[in-house]
Subunit: 345 residues, 4 copies
Amino acid sequence: MSSPATIALLGASGYTGAELLRLLVPRTDVRCVALSAERNAGNDVGTVWPHLAALDLPKLCKVGDIDFSGVDFAFCALPHGTTQEIVARLPTSVRVVDLSADFRLTDPAVYQQWYGKPHAAVALQADAVYGLTEFARDEVKDARLVANPGCYPTAAQLALVPLLQARAIEAEGLIIDAKSGISGAGRDGKTANLYAEVTEGFQAYSIAQHRHLPEIEQQIGAAAGRAVTLTFTPHLVPMSRGIFETIYVRARADATELRRLWQTRYANEPFAHVLDAGKIPNVKQVRGTNMCQLAAFDDRVSGRVILLAAIDNLVKGAAGQAVQNMNVMMGIPETTGLIAAAAYP
Amino acid sequence: MSSPATIALLGASGYTGAELLRLLVPRTDVRCVALSAERNAGNDVGTVWPHLAALDLPKLCKVGDIDFSGVDFAFCALPHGTTQEIVARLPTSVRVVDLSADFRLTDPAVYQQWYGKPHAAVALQADAVYGLTEFARDEVKDARLVANPGCYPTAAQLALVPLLQARAIEAEGLIIDAKSGISGAGRDGKTANLYAEVTEGFQAYSIAQHRHLPEIEQQIGAAAGRAVTLTFTPHLVPMSRGIFETIYVRARADATELRRLWQTRYANEPFAHVLDAGKIPNVKQVRGTNMCQLAAFDDRVSGRVILLAAIDNLVKGAAGQAVQNMNVMMGIPETTGLIAAAAYP
Amino acid sequence: MSSPATIALLGASGYTGAELLRLLVPRTDVRCVALSAERNAGNDVGTVWPHLAALDLPKLCKVGDIDFSGVDFAFCALPHGTTQEIVARLPTSVRVVDLSADFRLTDPAVYQQWYGKPHAAVALQADAVYGLTEFARDEVKDARLVANPGCYPTAAQLALVPLLQARAIEAEGLIIDAKSGISGAGRDGKTANLYAEVTEGFQAYSIAQHRHLPEIEQQIGAAAGRAVTLTFTPHLVPMSRGIFETIYVRARADATELRRLWQTRYANEPFAHVLDAGKIPNVKQVRGTNMCQLAAFDDRVSGRVILLAAIDNLVKGAAGQAVQNMNVMMGIPETTGLIAAAAYP
Amino acid sequence: MSSPATIALLGASGYTGAELLRLLVPRTDVRCVALSAERNAGNDVGTVWPHLAALDLPKLCKVGDIDFSGVDFAFCALPHGTTQEIVARLPTSVRVVDLSADFRLTDPAVYQQWYGKPHAAVALQADAVYGLTEFARDEVKDARLVANPGCYPTAAQLALVPLLQARAIEAEGLIIDAKSGISGAGRDGKTANLYAEVTEGFQAYSIAQHRHLPEIEQQIGAAAGRAVTLTFTPHLVPMSRGIFETIYVRARADATELRRLWQTRYANEPFAHVLDAGKIPNVKQVRGTNMCQLAAFDDRVSGRVILLAAIDNLVKGAAGQAVQNMNVMMGIPETTGLIAAAAYP
């Protein structure tokens, strides 16, 4: 057996970083050799993540102190906006999966519009491959830099792309009513995200202005073959993980036919599960896994179908898909380290 | 001071029954003289509701054992389908607020279609007043039998009716994406509703076939002045109480104008709170109260507005509105016993 | 009817402040004329507490800007340590209930030991009445300054004091295993208190060093008639409100006899509910109320009894008891504004 | 590679059964060939466990229809009381790990006292090995029938056994204040376990009479070398999984020394993690894993130490330890299939 691939994890102190460690540490074919966490540099992982304290992992360090000459892969799980310069400075020998939003938008003007400042690594952005694995496997395989999709866009695309490409639904008038667990808001201490504030509550947020909107429109537009403007309303659910999307579409076929299109497209996909007629996805059933559950229901309103998609925002919506992409880039079986059933209940 | 009005509560062992007791017991102008609970007849209230054990309340009894000659008002909080015969047998001297769905649908054919059997009290149904208090105060005042609206329909109507009546939104293409806490599913022990099954989960249910659909369509149709078919998708949120509706509408005006229409209509309504621009409702803020929070946001898609409504399903969506209707029927201030801030957090 | 008593609430932006508003606002015999919140001075209450936005309340202000000449009562719901100077500067015409820990410890040396600095208002501390209402009604009645008990100490004393005074249990070897909802940790944004961190978790904290320990020991010692050292372990429960204490005692009588002692002592107490044999308290049953539930169970170990107590930390453990004390100070019925059943479920 | 060991899982429709499937299915060295679920015999696993619907598993069947001639191992995850006859009828060629309580108590009289009827397989009970793996590895290795420990007893023993055997703590006066998630109550639909009833609540249950008490006393007595009676109070936490025990002991050494004894005993144990001084276990950190976290704190009361233990009731407290025992019985590395970090948050 060859020596394990070496991995640097930039941004080990966020939820996505912890999830990457959970997925990578049990593996024998890869090894985490550097874990960055600027404010906790010098400390053991256990100071940030007590649940990982018993593992044998390198100490936390600053990005600037990593010797990338011995690193094969880097996962960037840094906040949006900080990643561009850091990735631009990495040696080109290091292949990168970036979990931030920094390289997802192909049009620098759109980036500037939604993030309020010019993109700092436009050349790199042009090279980046948008890595929704099921739809970009071939490009990912040879990419140096993969922009890992956002959580909401992942679920939306898995539901919509095959149907749009088959011209079975209209690109006009798409409405995505999305619900997410709170971990998507990160680990910073904010009053709004306190347990006491969130439990037994439910609300919408960032209505018609969430930063995943341009990402969804870009990708849905590509699948539809023309510019798309759509309705996207995210909501906060009192749960830790999970994304559920209820998508209202005008269809040229009924739910049975749409399900058949999905089944054909996803026949050999290990991480897309098209549910039988009448079965309803539940984020609890995919919790901790890389799976996406999909379902379609005929509406009472003629010509309308309701699509449902459920993923774990930290797995298929972040760390799991990042590992899936790494597996593709390494040329090993795509499911390596990712086959798991949910810990239910 | 006159002697208190006497109340019989039929169905004291369900969540709605407990909530009625919570609202009625502190009052001095009404007195609960009979509490029915068939399977627990003969027991103290505390055997069913330990949180009410310290109160001075009559023992539980069977409906058939109640002497209605001394009863002024009856709240029927019985399961759907069982109420028709019971209400039909009550002396006409007893005024009734029925919290079941039995008298909400005015068309017996629609009732039969959705409930699978003919209505057993068609004559009474014709007399019943549909009691969404804000819109039916005058009829409620003189009614003998008030059909208390369902929880989902209450939130939907408070958002939509004024806008439809003002012709500010279209009746066509309405999409109601609704989210509810689990108490709406009742207190029967069902595996699907266990804590372990619900926590950290999220799913849709009864897609395009929930029994509140015909009720919503009936009332929205009345407001629109023509038959309406709409899209309604309920979801289950891991929380005990609360309903949140995200309603997608085609509008002839922008969010600012819709908000203004609500404000005009609800200027003197104590239980409808139109939020300032940019503020978002949250079920936690209305928990335990009779309040409905309303908000409107412009969508990015031209001509579309997103409406938001939040209520407590057990209060404005059930027991609170029932008490509000009773107050109107009694000719006392409508807010009696209903002014409360949420116990936050 | 006389004009309402005027109230200043110092510290309106914490959970205790919100709870005081919930309890006070519906009343017609008192009126909040000043609400302080230093960082939010000048803003409407709704900016801090959206669930109170619909109420008619004065704007938030700085403590220094309050004209106390028109104020009858002040509730101090400020952080520990900041209260001493502020209370010391209030006109003596203003009667005060202080909800912080600043005046609870009668011995300045003990205060300094546990809070790490000398007490800044020793003279006032000597005058303060420790206001566990059930045990100090007479002193509270005439007090100018009432130190409102801590949440954990309230539950512990309601369980233990009558039994110790009756010499029915030993003061030696008391073990209090306490569990609390997260609202006791306040509203500051801290990572440890985020929803994602707390949900589906359970842990102890401040083991053998919680600052409520000296308060409990002081009061239990007074009841026992000698100095007491005891074991106190607080735990954090994934819930918003509530305290549950499991207290292990060596008893000179069995559970039946201890229950009888409680029943005698609390026969006329509206806020202490001694449960029937075999019934178990639950914080959910007292949620939002000023009630304390008490139960006693014989242990299998001879000579040992297990006592259970449940309260809502924000009501009987803070704002509710503060209002109860105010009622006593005003000479009005002690239960005014405090009779309520829990909003269950 | 040899052909995989074949496994029959009796009782696939309970939470423990689902957890066994989660742990076993990804493995290539074992294969589930029979899954029993009496009421669902003939159905796919997905009808009972939608989260497992995408897996390739045999259909559910009745125990009586299993051909045990091709079965190497059986996991019995059946309800208490039903297991004795079933295990007694299994061919002796099948090695068994029983997760029920049926073979844990070695004294038939004690069994009868706590379970209300005579044991139906006394001879088998005499042969059964009590399988707390860390303490019984050698006997488990050669056992035909392993009685898998209860969840509460597992945490208690991991904390107490090494300290009792070292005579570092007294066997007298042990108090175990235990807290558990709700999944321990099983998947039957009971009102008391509904989400709406459990959320935002906390209570004790089965005070001084839980059926895990005699199991704990039997094992603690064995470690202490004499009969032990102890105090055990279980509580219900609003969370799905996890057990946390706060154990009050009289010690002949301080917390530092007790920690050192644990560290020595558990130096090579992969599933016992002795936390550094001052660190506190949290069930969230072991969620979904086979790990037990342990900590010791000096009490303020001289001579007393507070021990803390956290496990996942469904893993180290049930299915995980069962797999650990199977691994030992098979002679393969004990950690096979059990190395995992918690999916945090």
